[in-house]
Symmetry: C2
């Protein structure tokens, strides 16, 4: 029919984007313009086999959906937790947030099952790429993204390029130290900013308060069987619970100090906070910088909150879209 | 005479190099090959006027000496404490280690009095340039120098270039945070690595121990009127003074944590420790990295001690020599 012919001509050049985190495994179809045309989400399975099986199934399903939506898929971009060698599409090593996720070749099995080119980078680096192409990093040569979610990750763009480092450990910003002792971190060390300011850290403190009957105040409710999370300690702090306030203040101070260390190391023109905790931290981080950073660093740094719904997914897509564009033109 | 003619032909292309620190002001004549042909040292005057007067006098004296030595001086390279805008030859801001040393134009007055081109960068950055041209950074694209002396400074080379940062605050590595509280730092913050591991920090702890009569042990002597310094606490630790050992251990842990943060931010291929305290810290830093850094970062990082006598002076000279070479050829 005529309509089908037009659909064919109007095919949207798109990418399949994957975001594999400690909690959720998501797959999306994303257009050249950064529209998320379709999105699927599942809980991340705990074993390597289940995780790979589910990922392949979701990708196969997404390719069918792409046909329905008249999207031409140029490739697959994967954002994952852990240290990644992007040249080889390998996950080198992950902390306990992702078990059974070290020395994993993601490119070969997925590329051979889906018959599409596959690119991989870690979640923090993908978020930086997402900001660069579609968000507040547009037009900026030097910026850092800091994702504050379940864990803490980051990406550093210098001279328009991601900094990967000699062993692909650059921008593992969750493991910047802010304390010589401090709480145990998922990486095996202690006192990393992730052990103070991540969702997992806030949840740990929320549980401690709840166990001591010191979390709930009027306005903060736990439904029957609901798990205590970082959200509850933030709510309680907002409603005047002093102990919860102290937890959030310490988390802000830790994140602010990590940002100070970044200013005194890389000194980017701006820092983009992403992740669901970012809005709760941004004012605190700004205050810590004014109080503790060198005046030359504090005077003109811009601390922003991302306005992208899905920076890591968009960044994973952008690797595919950038590469495909370069190859074609 | 014949000998004078030969001298003239054999003139050595050289730079005047300045190293302006909190303690000493040094001027040297340095050849294209990195030989220090002549060196002068004075205590750094405390006021701006005295400092500039002495610097100009030393430079004038050095130019006379250069004539004697048949050196052709191509320019002046200045390594100084503080944040520096190298494009404008300005010191933007210094901590209390150098008073009256903020918003200082070094290039204009010195260039107009000496009739030579002047380049300026900070001591940490100059040390990195010195290592790159003459030391353990030769042939390396990505490395970090960390100077541990009276204060702590650093320089970051990525893709063969110094990272200066958006506000010339990059590589102010002494102000990486390693503690949320911790001792007061010269920068106005607290818990910076400089407040634990610098010469000033060790001296502060040495004085505390001495005031409590807990510093001196057999083998550690103070001459009549001699000031207690960091050297004494290191000696005491080596001779089994447990309290002194604790001070040095804490200093090592702090420096090691700062290095871990660098590995998780920039992840260079190696780190070169310079400054008179470097040999006392290198083993401790390596141990902290093995214990606390992410395995991918810890596995192949090389921590080295500089074998240059004067990395900052050599780096200051290298700016002159590199620029002159580029201009001529
Ligand atoms: Ca990263
Ligand atoms: Ca520096
Ligand atoms: Zn950690
Ligand atoms: Zn400081």
């Amino acid at each position: 029919t005529v309509s089908q012919d037009i659909d064919h001509i109007l095919e949207t050049q798109s990418a399949l984007a994957v975001d594999l985190g400690g909690t959720n495994l998501r797959v999306a179809i994303i257009s050249q313009q950064g529209e998320i045309l379709h999105k699927m989400s599942e809980l991340t399975p705990v074993t390597y086999e289940q995780r790979m099986d589910l990922l392949v199934r979701m990708l196969v399903e997404a390719t069918s959906k792409a046909v329905e939506l008249s999207c031409r898929i140029l490739g697959i971009g994967i954002s994952t937790g852990g240290r990644v060698n992007p040249h080889e599409g390998m996950v080198l090593h992950s902390t306990k947030i992702l078990e059974e996720w070290s020395s994993i070749d993601l490119r070969t099995p997925i590329s051979s099952k889906l018959h599409l080119p596959v690119w991989v980078d870690n979640d923090g680096n993908c978020a930086a790429l997402g900001e660069k192409k579609f968000g507040k990093g547009k037009g900026s040569e030097d910026f850092i993204t800091l994702i504050v979610g379940t864990g803490i990750g980051g990406g550093i763009v210098l001279n328009n390029e991601l900094v990967h480092g000699a062993n692909f450990c650059a921008a593992e910003l969750g493991h910047i130290s802010v304390s010589m002792d401090g709480p145990d971190c998922m990486c095996g060390s202690s006192g990393c900013v992730e052990s103070y300011s991540s969702g997992i850290a806030l949840q740990r403190e929320a549980k401690k308060l709840h166990d001591a009957d010191e979390l709930l105040v009027p306005g903060v409710h736990l439904r029957e069987g609901e798990e205590v999370t970082g959200k509850h300690v933030i709510q309680a702090a907002q409603l005047g619970n002093k102990k919860a306030e102290k937890v959030v203040e310490t988390a802000c101070e830790a994140l602010g100090l990590a940002v100070c260390s970044l200013l005194h190391t890389v000194n980017p023109s701006h820092i983009i906070l992403c992740g669901h905790l970012a809005p709760h931290y941004v004012d605190g981080v700004r205050e810590v910088i004014q109080r503790r950073a060198l005046p030359s660093a504090a005077s003109s740094i811009q601390i922003m909150v991302s306005d992208l719904e899905e920076p890591a997914l968009l960044g994973a897509a952008s690797i595919v879209l950038e590469y495909a564009t370069r190859r074609i033109y």
